[in-house]
Symmetry: C2
Subunit: 432 residues, 2 copies
């Protein structure tokens, strides 16, 4: 007899887990209609079975022993919303080993051990979906896999961390200082007490590693991502950026030229007319360029209990459909291409550069001469008095230049007597 | 024996039809992998079978007789890319009558006869998909059906006509006149020789009727959409809009408050910080607000052979998957809710109003007094000399006001001696 009910083991019963239970309960009929099968959560792994919960009718399903899920032959799908690396990694690998399909919301795990997990899934013919791990409420992984199935992705740019985007937006809109806005964000619960993972770009880097691995089919590791956070962005940079037509955003960039790839997360000057420049507050957006479709962008909430739980249930629906289609595992593509990382000389970008120089005749000429020697030409130049006219400030926007050339120019400038201080240097995107 | 091959009859073999054939040919293996079934185009309806074509190997499949497709019991799916109302409507209804599934790119047909077609599909248990009919390269209908399956959509705002958005963008960026930009757009092939359908908003209205019908499950008709085109938008309006923080866009709006619905297409002042304000050139974008997910936006190419053909093939893949799942027809939801249209007194919006008045003391006081009597309060007011100071110009941005109140104020003002001319009045969106 054909299977009528798909049985799900839920690991983790915090806010996202609770949301998943609620959505599955509330939409039984819809889910049946969409998939032709019923979905039943039959066991829930928790740390403490005695704790009182908002959904008490699930109490009989609770267990503190993962093996009760992993070794239960009746369970078809494991939904992991525990988070963190261990024991989530061990549980997921064990579930796959038992031929169970997996849905996870775990970005840390997928960024660090995604290749291992996808390879195991492929070996076992199981599904692994992880939509909720990147930009919770935006179905971006699904879009990359389905929407671009017959296309070739060349570039992805993402605002994939809500905390830093909230801070950059506030700094821009209110002309406020980083430290003040961070404090406010912490008070509002948009930033954690220890904000390092967000503000230093590590969280965004995890998501970009996941996007690049999936979009380019290359096993990108977290350490392959050039990361720079926002803690050094000043309100002056933002104000000058605006004047020249840019908004500063913590931008994730994954770009492929030929087979060579670069992935980075860094504060970036984004041209105001580019749709990413208007992504404000805690919102996320991912811009994708495909050879056939051209430019697309997906915008929405990056986190939150309901959007995240909705993404998990959507993945679950896909697993169930695949079970009925008999195509589980076919959508799982472990990265199979060789990883070719760009050298710095291949990383081309426009740059925004701000420096304070001695107020002497010919300084601007010397600076531009130096750039010209490295084949860096200029798109915009502003010079103005600084520090009551005792110094001058130069702001430059370059045409495309290689990172290696830019780095060597900066290193050389640091040693020039006429250059008092290099205040900032940002990549410029979205202006082509 | 279970079916191994799904047979497709293609109706229409122009650029989109050719694109569909190419994609199906090029991605056989992928399609098989995704669906577990092969997809074969077995007949192609053309007007002239003798015409020479870029894909000559399909010549044996060509027919000029629709019945050869409609009455062929081996054909499971009909893909209609002929366009227009008749005979496309008759063909699609006949195909459904025969139990064939339908994929169409036909926005005119779906806007005018969508309810009839969906009802027939529901009756026959057949699939009808029409992703390519709205914003070609953006999977927006799929997102509405799948992504928001467990949510309630309250508002959609769309830039869904590339021609008008190109014109508005050029006017904004270059401070150019409407007539000049239209001519340029015609020369570049972005606008047709007779641009009426685009510039008067009818094309956008069709797409908004389709979006509202699907998003709200209500049988919206084209005549339910308030339509105003862009031909009266002046470069002055755009310049004043910018000054106050807005971009003028031809914006489709579909909004539900309680069960009451309004759908309109009109030039609208969109707050600059809203992501829709940065959707430039021929690009399309649809912004969707759902009660659970909050704000999302989907951005991409609105037309083009490859994006449109890709959307058609994606629909075809869904039909094939549904065939194997045995769930055809279940995703088709003919609009089942009663249509409740808002009265003008329920249509709330902020407004931008520009008028030329006599340069007399107390004129501004009279105008604001009149607005206050209708409970319309003001957010921004600018008064300045006009016509070398012989007159004055007043620009107002109101807080939320009812359309009925605004209309009666405008009618009254037309008769006031001190009001020389009401230059323009726009809805304002995206500023909350």
């Amino acid at each position: 007899m054909e299977k009528q009910i798909v049985r799900v083991g839920l690991m983790g019963f915090g806010t996202v887990g609770t949301g998943v239970v609620r959505i599955v309960q509330a939409h039984q009929e819809d889910l049946q209609k969409q998939t032709g099968l019923g979905i039943e959560i039959t066991k829930i792994l928790v740390q403490n079975a005695e704790k009182s919960r908002s959904i008490s009718e699930m109490d009989p399903l609770l267990t503190t022993n993962a093996d009760e899920i992993l070794n239960d032959a009746d369970i078809d799908v494991v939904v992991e919303v525990i988070g963190g690396i261990s024991p989530a990694r061990e549980y997921i690998l064990a579930a796959l080993e038992q031929g169970k399909h997996v849905v996870t919301a775990n970005k840390d795990l997928m960024a660090l051990h995604g290749a291992e997990i996808l390879a195991k899934a492929e070996e076992k013919g199981c599904d692994v979906f992880y939509e909720a791990s990147v930009a919770g409420g935006i179905p971006i992984l699904r879009a990359l896999v389905e929407g671009f199935a017959s296309d070739r992705i060349t570039k992805m740019m993402g605002i994939v961390n809500g905390t830093t985007n909230y801070i950059m937006t506030k700094m821009s809109q209110e002309g406020a200082d980083y430290a003040d806005v961070l404090k406010e964000a912490q008070a509002l619960g948009y930033a954690e007490a220890d904000p390092t993972s967000d503000v230093e770009g590590f969280d965004a880097a995890r998501k970009m590693a996941i996007l690049a691995t999936l979009g380019f089919r290359v096993p990108m590791k977290l350490e392959d991502v050039d990361v720079k956070g926002i803690s050094s962005v000043s309100k002056e940079d933002i104000a000058y950026g605006k004047r020249l037509g840019y908004e500063v955003k913590l931008l994730g960039l994954a770009r492929r030229d030929g087979e060579a790839i670069e992935v980075s997360v860094q504060p970036t000057m984004v041209a105001k007319h580019h749709p990413l420049a208007s992504v404000n507050g805690v919102f996320n957006a991912v811009y994708v360029h495909g050879e056939a479709v051209g430019e697309t962008m997906f915008y929405g909430p990056g986190a939150g209990e309901l959007p995240t739980a909705t993404a998990v249930v959507s993945d679950l629906v896909t697993v169930v459909k695949n079970m009925k289609l008999g195509v589980n595992g076919r959508g799982v593509v472990a990265p199979y291409k060789e990883k070719v990382l760009k050298a710095d000389s291949e990383k081309l970008s426009k740059y925004f550069l701000r420096m304070v120089v001695a107020d002497k005749r010919g300084v601007l000429a010397k600076v531009t001469q130096l750039l010209a020697e490295k084949n860096i030409s200029l798109e915009q130049v502003v010079q103005q008095p600084y520090n009551n006219g005792s110094q001058a400030e130069i702001i430059l926007v370059t045409h495309q230049a290689a990172k290696s050339d830019m780095d060597s120019v900066l290193a050389y400038m640091e040693g020039m007597e006429i250059v008092e201080e290099i205040k900032s240097c940002y990549r410029v995107e979205g202006g082509e």
